[in-house]
Symmetry: C2
Subunit: 303 residues, 2 copies
């Protein structure tokens, strides 16, 4: 049976480390790192996600507040609020919970957050920096995947990795770090040979690439997309998918992209859903927020 | 025998189109688009490249000047010069010919060019925009490859493409466009399944990926890296490599990454070196410069 890559336990470990580091930081006389989460509308999943982030932030010692708006807020009002938070020297991290109402441009809103406070790593400057291996804010989910590979000691150098899903916030930054040179500036490169598959990859080709992969990262939201016959014995599988399904008894639960029970008989290591990448994403968001606080402190010390 | 994808002839076509479009633009009362090429040091290849760019620019009706410096110029002086060109409303495109002396930070210099005048597409803002499918300045070589695939009508949708080489200015942006969604904003997506191979891809894995590819884009500078036994019959091969080699008679010539004579017996279509991607790169730089001129005009009209 595949080794279970327990993201929940690892996230607890990361958060405990951060808690200690932040306590030390505050002991040195700095104010606590701070994050503001903007939440628009009443999507229940978004409310749950933001709530989890606030709980984690307070646990590690980050000052966290939610700023709630109902969905009638205009894009202009939202942009003005982001401007105010950008200018507020007591705010280190700004997060706009996605999705936002369809009347607004997600891209415009993401690019309105000051890059150095963009703890979600969605600003084009942060994406560009990631691409050229500069130190940057990395999208938390992508960073969670890389951190899991590192901490669970999954070898990536020279290995075949397949990223299934080409979303700009998840699949793309993962593919960026996986294929990049470890020796470069930001230390995030993993030196794997990377194949990016997506909705237009024909099924039999997806099967082939997966069967040939030492590492599969899947982030599609298609339940049971990755089946046992697509997995090379011993391969590592990181399941970023998270979909709410209702079973025959009318009970709903969260599932990933992987046919877990069958694949765990073949794979060497596998993340569960829930309890895999999800909790690590929250932990890495806290990491980013503390990093933003330190960067802003360094910046203001230099000015 | 493989169809020869004649980049020289295609570049002539593109430049003739641009010449006409620019003449129309000037007839409308606009000043001619303009580019300034900064050339530091005395590398003969760089001088040749810049010279080719100037000749092409003048042919299409772009006002082009070289600004030469010897290699004793400091980074600070170079940055100041770029600042001046950024602020000059008579300059549309700024190009710093790489490599620059090792005493300078290439990244810092590339990021100093105003993104809207960055006709090389190396600024992190332009890279970030490319990644999220926004309209942007695309590095000319990468754009040349995509334009060749389009104009030579090479189908990419759902096909396997391998990019050999992960350089930030060539391999990376090519992989970005090849895997992206055609339907998105900038219209550059090619919807292929893309594998990024590099120096740490083990030889037998590189062979496998290439044998499985409908399209191979190689940009490594390793002569004869791509051999006939690595190529699927009928595949398309775009050779971005360009290396000066000296033959047994002491005569030097330019070669690509592909073992041309042998591969052309197997491949369906193949670019020669020289006369393939090289001339198209220059043509696409002219395209970018004209685009910069139009963008700047639109921007100033809106202000």
């Amino acid at each position: 049976m595949a080794r279970v890559l327990d993201g929940k336990a690892l996230a607890a470990e990361v958060k405990n480390e951060l808690k200690l580091e932040i306590a030390n930081w505050v002991n040195l006389g700095h104010r606590a790192p701070s994050i503001r989460c903007i939440l628009v509308g009443d999507d229940p999943a978004s409310h749950t996600y933001v709530n989890n982030k606030i709980i984690a932030a307070r646990f590690v010692g980050i000052d966290a507040e939610v700023i709630k708006h109902d969905s009638s807020i205009t894009e202009e009002q939202l942009l003005r609020e982001i401007e105010t938070l950008n200018a507020d020297s007591n705010v280190d991290g700004i997060l706009v919970q996605l999705p936002i109402p369809e009347t607004m441009s997600e891209r415009k809103v993401c690019n309105a957050v000051a890059p150095e406070k963009d703890v979600d790593g969605f600003h084009i400057v942060n994406i560009g920096q990631l691409c050229v291996d500069m130190p940057t804010m990395v999208p938390a989910t992508a960073l969670a995947v890389i951190e899991m590979l590192k901490r669970f000691k999954i070898e990536t150098f020279g290995r075949n990795a397949v990223v299934v899903g080409r979303s700009k916030n998840v699949g793309l930054p993962i593919a960026m770090m996986l294929h990049s040179d470890k020796k470069h500036d930001n230390g995030l490169g993993m030196d794997a040979t990377v194949t990016i598959c997506h909705r237009y990859t024909p099924k039999e080709k997806l099967d082939n690439f997966c069967q040939n992969a030492d590492i599969i990262i899947t982030a599609t939201g298609v339940p049971k997309l990755i089946k046992a016959n697509m997995v090379k014995p011993g391969a590592t599988i990181i399941d970023v998918g998270i979909t709410k399904v209702t079973d025959e008894n009318g009970k709903s639960r969260l599932v990933g992209d992987v046919d877990y029970d069958e694949v765990s008989k073949v794979a060497g290591a596998l993340t569960p859903v829930p309890g895999g990448v999800g909790p690590m994403t929250v932990a890495m968001l806290m990491h980013n927020t503390f990093q933003a606080a330190k960067n802003l402190r360094t910046k203001s010390a230099l000015q």
